[in-house]
Amino acid sequence: MKDALFLAGFLALPLIGLIAWRIEAVRRMPLDGRIAVAGAAGAVITTVVLAAMSFAGISWSRARLFAILGAIAIAGVIAIGGRTSRPPGGRDVRPPNWSALALIAILALLTCYGILTARETAGDLLFFWGPKGIHFYQAHEIDVPFLANKAHPNPDYPPLLPLLYVWSQTLARSFSWWAALLTTILFFLGSVAILRASSRDDLGAALLAGVLAWTFAVTYAAGGADAPLVFFVALTLSALTFIRSDFVAAIGLAGAVLTKIEGTTFLIAVVLAIVLVDRSIKRALLVAAPALAVLAGWVAFLAKIGIVYGFGRAKEENTRIYFELIPKTLVEMAKAGSYEILGLPFLIAIALIILGRTRRAALLPLTVAVLTIGAAVFFYLHSPDPTWWIAASAPRVLLTPLTALIIASVAAWRPQSI
């Protein structure tokens, strides 16, 4: 029962974010995509509400959280005014590709098997994402003494996942390690649904499912923050590439920066890509504005409690960049990016982009992929011997550019008529 209630906390996120269905581009999506976008909005809203309460000194009680988040959900229902069906013109132009959908189902089931038999567990769930969620819940606020005692890893990591775990514990009254692992399958399905619903390309969605099923297994992503980050990356880039919705992209970017420090790198890459590809600084800043606001809030909180580590490295004395290590860094990153299958996830995406018919459409996600890989190289070059650091982190760090490349490969084959 505890496990089911904990998982229900995540399943309830689309209700909390139902207001996202007001966005015209979302209303035109198939149901799976609409639920996924609402889930993303719900995750961001829940995180912002819990963080804001904590910053304001208002402790989290069941009654308060149910009242506030319940009111937001009811407001969403009223705002969409019962318009749960798609407006005219939102119909699929192609019939479902049942073979591709069957493949997605098989890959999702395999991932579920891997998760439920403890074959994909993220060590970081056990070492800090889970502990943070548990301690925050027990403290009824963001537990500053726990973060500030400097005995635990990554105290300054963004708060989305621990705060969603707090929300789930509010329902379940205790932490469920197994349900925390299973949330990964929700983010997996959400990522695939968003790509499928926005591109109307079942085959492309199947490719994303295959790549994520494999890479989540070999990077041990279950229960950690990499699956949610991929979800928000997929949302942002699908919104910018296929449905041209700046609102939806803004939700994705805000989610990304609240999930991992790599989300901030992704934010910078998206802003630069919009400026370079769409030649619009104004649009880039509008899309980035909510993300910049929530990021500023989190960094201000960290500065107040004195634990700005990852975000503050630029200020450190040892800012030397070891340019002589570029070849070694690239070789080590290529090894990490091979994902124990000769780099097939990257190779197939690149091949499909090269063979694609509408490569211009792939330009924005492709630019983001290149920039995020460049950012990873830049960070690794700050270490005099980055070998261990790359081996330990690059397979997960490269999931962001890999997702961007898969989206680019789908865009490259998009029929001109859609």
Partner: protein, 150 residues
């Protein structure tokens, strides 16, 4: 010739793409089955901990989970606790105590340092007995020991 090849690809392109994606997805699925099989059995039994099959030979933190879960029920709340493998001194594997922070939230779980001015009240020793003059055995368990300060 080139024009003919380009024309042929325009016609056959989507089919090539379809074949490529199906082949890749089937390969990913088969490789997943092979990987899961390689991580060892049992294959259809619900595991004891969330780390049971992440490696063929389980990490020590897998047993630290079981020990910390038990310790949470026998060590009084609020006591200072650490988790270690004595043979690793002084460079203890910190992941053992990291794991306990989430499993013993009502205790003060600290990094292993038995000779600090403010040492832990209890030590969970994974796999091995602890020989330290300031601690005596409290409980012996299948996967390790719990020691309390004398």
């Amino acid at each position: 010739m080139t024009r003919l090849a380009t024309h042929a690809f325009k016609v056959e392109g989507p089919l090539v793409r379809e074949k490529l994606i199906y082949a890749a997805c089937i390969l990913f699925a088969l490789m997943l089955v092979r990987r899961f099989q390689g991580l060892g059995g049992p294959y259809f039994t619900f595991p004891e901990t969330i780390q049971d099959h992440v490696r063929e030979t389980p990490y020590p933190s897998r047993d630290a989970i079981l020990l910390a879960e038990h310790a949470a029920t026998v060590i009084p709340r609020g006591k200072k606790v650490t988790v270690l493998r004595p043979s690793e001194a002084p460079n203890y594997d910190l992941t053992l105590f990291y794991a306990a922070t989430g499993l013993m939230p009502r205790h003060l779980v600290v990094a292993p340092d038995l000779d600090s001015p403010n040492p832990p009240d209890y030590v969970i020793s994974v796999h091995e007995p602890l020989n330290h003059p300031a601690y005596r055995m409290h409980v012996e368990l299948e996967k390790g020991f719990i020691y309390s300060r004398k």
